[in-house]
Amino acid sequence: MDMKVGKKKLGLKEKYQHMTRGLGWETTYQSMDDVFPFVKYEGIKIHDWDKWEDPFRLTMDAYWKYQAEKERKLYAIIDAYAQNNGHLNVTDARYINAIKLFLNGISPLEYMAHRGFAMTGRQFPGVGARVACLMQSLDEIRHAQTQIHSLSNYNKYYNGFHEYRHMLERVWYLSVPRSFFDDAVTAGPFEFMVAIGFSFEYVLTNLLFVPFVSGAAYNGDMGTMTFGFSAQSDEARHMTLGLEVIKFVLEQDPDNLPIVQQWIDKWTWRGYRVLTLVGMMMDYMLPKRIMSWKEAWEVYFEENGGALFKDLARYGIRPPKWLDQIEKDKDHISHQAWATFYNYAAACNFHTWIPTDDELDWLSQKYPNSFDKYYRPRLEHWREEAKKGNRFYNKTLPMLCQTCQIPMIFTEPGDPTQICYREVDYKDNKYHFCSDGCKEIFEHEPEKYIQAWLPVHQIYQGNCFEEGVDPTAEGFDPLSAVLDYYHLAQGRDNLDFEGSEDQKNFEMWRGMATKNA
């Protein structure tokens, strides 16, 4: 008797179909609205989830196989880097402060992105979107973990890496990246996708990753560089997803356009504000520079982003608001940010310093319209004072922007000598902002932002001291009490790079590696 020959193995496409969309169903015991309670309240209208084009056709088995291979290679390099004391090959120990900024300010966001995509995926009735969110959620937790692993090597030798998780919720400047992501994950699933999937991962991600990864490569940091390359293929997928979300939502219903546009305006501005930290890192913290913040902005935002928004014009999307201000600001924000960390170096978990003469000249050359006129005199004055033993440590707490939570350091568009003040009265209280962008974001959802945990105000409310500390006791030293609360060791984790333990140790260890006794 002839055996009946079954159909051959499933093709990739069919297999993908069965293993993803084939697993979904319309619920009947409970209504779909009860099962997916967050999908309508934002006002986005979706008529047909089947129109979702899956941007990458991966099933879990393929995902594991592929990622495991990548991770094996990455960990082999990280191990080799650690065993060979790779940290002593970086350009100089100042570079390590850029890595501190990354571990403290960015890696926890990877973890939040993991949570955000997991929550968002749960809320989408469409299986294609759900699977895409699942994969990205896994990518993000892998990135958090691989970053922690590759950077933990530095924690063995240098200060400021020891409690990034604890510090994220406490240290003043970390409220900036934290509140950015908290804002996104407390939004609905569609806003989260536009905020993180599109505005951050698609429009702004190159401005985050390229500087750090190239910065690592230029400065001899193989570990961080390898992590960056390993993450790159995931990032490409994330960008595709971000774009697919926008196109899908806009094609579903014309009423979605104004909602999506408002989110793009908001999240491009929010993301741009967070990237101030990256601008500062590029212009001041990399001993071997890659390019200036201004140049990076021109290439990755003005050129690439400009082309993207031209493409999206057919959906009725216009470029994000406030680009005219951003255009004027690109000569200034990195300098204003470095001045801020120089001011508040006593309350910080990384070191700051005055650039060397060569570096000042590099800045003059990269910023011919602004640096010599506004910023060089300031830095040179600080340098002179530091030589006299009078290094500036600003001990008075700054006024913060209610939305981005950055101190009010930004100047009026077009007038770099004047701090930009904006304010709003809302329900018997005043709220202050660094810009029209942050003010308008607040005015759109005031009830959300009046809850902001502003570090300065929290300190004055007495909420930033360890339990049992009595702020009314005689001789109470608020700065020292706040440092205890942050778990920062005075004189070790904070203050100027010059004279720091990091500086001394690096010099000594490198000396041992390259010289005889």
Partner: protein
């Protein structure tokens, strides 16, 4: 416009006056002196005399700047919420009508910061 939310969404301000143990917040910025990267946030009781802020508090806050010693307080121009404002140094914050989270700026004509850079 309110927040898009699945149910009623209403909260108290995290920074309302009663959370500051009898103090109110006053923000003070010195125009054209960006050596101080941002304006300052300071807690004071409403009974604080304005002149005491000038004499006893501001030297600790702004004294690092070489221009500070040259400030002639009788010629300083004040702004409250960016509008011209005239303080009476002998009055208290309450008497001057300064409320929680009001913002003051002062200008010192002739003093333009480090080498005229507004620093």
């Amino acid at each position: 416009m309110g927040v898009a939310a699945i149910k009623e969404y209403s909260f108290e301000s995290a920074d309302r006056l009663e959370n500051f143990h009898g103090n109110q917040l006053l923000y003070i910025g010195w125009d054209q002196h960006l050596l101080f990267c941002a304006p300052f946030c300071l807690p004071f009781p409403p009974s604080m005399r304005f002149g005491d802020i000038i004499d006893k508090v501001l030297p600790g806050v702004f004294g690092y700047h070489p221009d500070f010693a040259k400030v002639d307080w009788s010629k300083v121009e004040w702004l409250k919420s960016s509008q011209p404002w005239q303080p009476d140094f002998n009055k208290t914050l309450a008497e001057l009508g300064l409320k929680h989270k009001d913002v003051l700026r002062f200008r010192t004509p002739g003093l333009t910061g480090i080498k005229g850079s507004a620093s």
